[in-house]
Symmetry: C2
Subunit: 186 residues, 2 copies
């Protein structure tokens, strides 16, 4: 039986725009020895699979500083303090990044991006009945290209790493398991 480790001390080492870096002083219930752990405190995240009536996923290309690469992802971002819930954040991010408003938004599932070192969750949604409301609204740190990818090609693109963001793959797991979309190709 694994028990939670009591945390005796929390210290904030620094704060960035996307997380706060904390240390936790915590004691093993098994050995009684005390250790220090690093934790990234971050707001929850959302991502959205926007599906057109033609069976295409609306995706975004952007340069990602972590990997130093241009990636292909589904729209997503942080739940802001002004968002009343993750669903609101998902609608907002989809509209900002692609110009599409989802008339239908369904929750797909929730994952922990990294329970070992991050406090937050990522909520995935399926967006359908998309209405194009205008151009994407990007801030000066964003440079995004919107493109469409047939849903039946997604599995192959994950296989050959044209899509490799773990949270995007998790969202597609949840979509596939949901049974909401019958046709997956390979």
């Amino acid at each position: 039986m694994i028990r939670p480790w009591p945390v005796h001390e929390r210290k904030q080492l620094l704060e960035t725009t996307i997380f706060k870096l904390h240390t936790h002083g915590s004691t093993s219930p098994r050995t009684g020895s005390r250790h220090e752990f690093v934790v990234l405190e971050a707001p929850d995240w959302v991502n959205v699979i926007p599906l057109t009536v033609e069976g295409e996923v609306v995706m975004v290309r952007q340069f990602r500083q972590g990997r130093g690469e241009v990636t292909l992802e589904i729209p997503g971002g942080m739940v802001d303090p002004d968002d009343p819930d993750p669903e609101h954040a998902a609608r907002r991010e989809l509209l900002e990044e692609t110009g599409y408003f989802p008339r239908r938004l369904e929750p797909l599932g929730v994952v922990a991006p990294n329970p070992a070192i991050q406090s937050n969750l990522c909520h995935s949604f399926l967006a359908r009945d998309l209405e194009l409301r205008g151009a994407p609204q990007l801030d000066s740190t964003e440079e995004i290209e919107v493109c469409r990818v047939p849903l039946v090609e997604i599995a192959q693109m994950i296989r050959d790493r044209r899509i490799d963001h773990a949270l995007v793959v998790a969202a597609f797991w949840h979509l596939r398991a949901s049974g909401l979309v019958p046709s997956w190709g390979a």
Copy 2:
């Protein structure tokens, strides 16, 4: 056409046992404006789906400081400097955390845990022909319970969040897409 952003300056803010925190000063090719981004430089990670001849996945329960919860995960960890490759790290982590040595280890796929803020990749493997070589070898910061979960129950457990680690879900995506294991239940 999205172009890479030139990085003009890299600064290390701090170093922990699992990552180095850097800032990148970088310029948008679209607007010419300069911004600062936070990047976690970390070694690659591995995780392993150990599958018994009975169709059970060998999993590990442990307390995770980030979420402050006891989680159910597949074995995994960092690629250490002494590991010649991710495959070696996968064998080592599996043996350390569960006591099982995989006589057969097959690569399943690779994801980027978070390309926006992390530099590293996570390599997933399928381990079969498992040989129990002894008790788990845990260090004093680890407290792990080994358990077995029928593969046919995994999809339901992800659905109801008994399993919710994004990198574990991504590994199961790759296993499912690989066709290496025919029986998935739901």
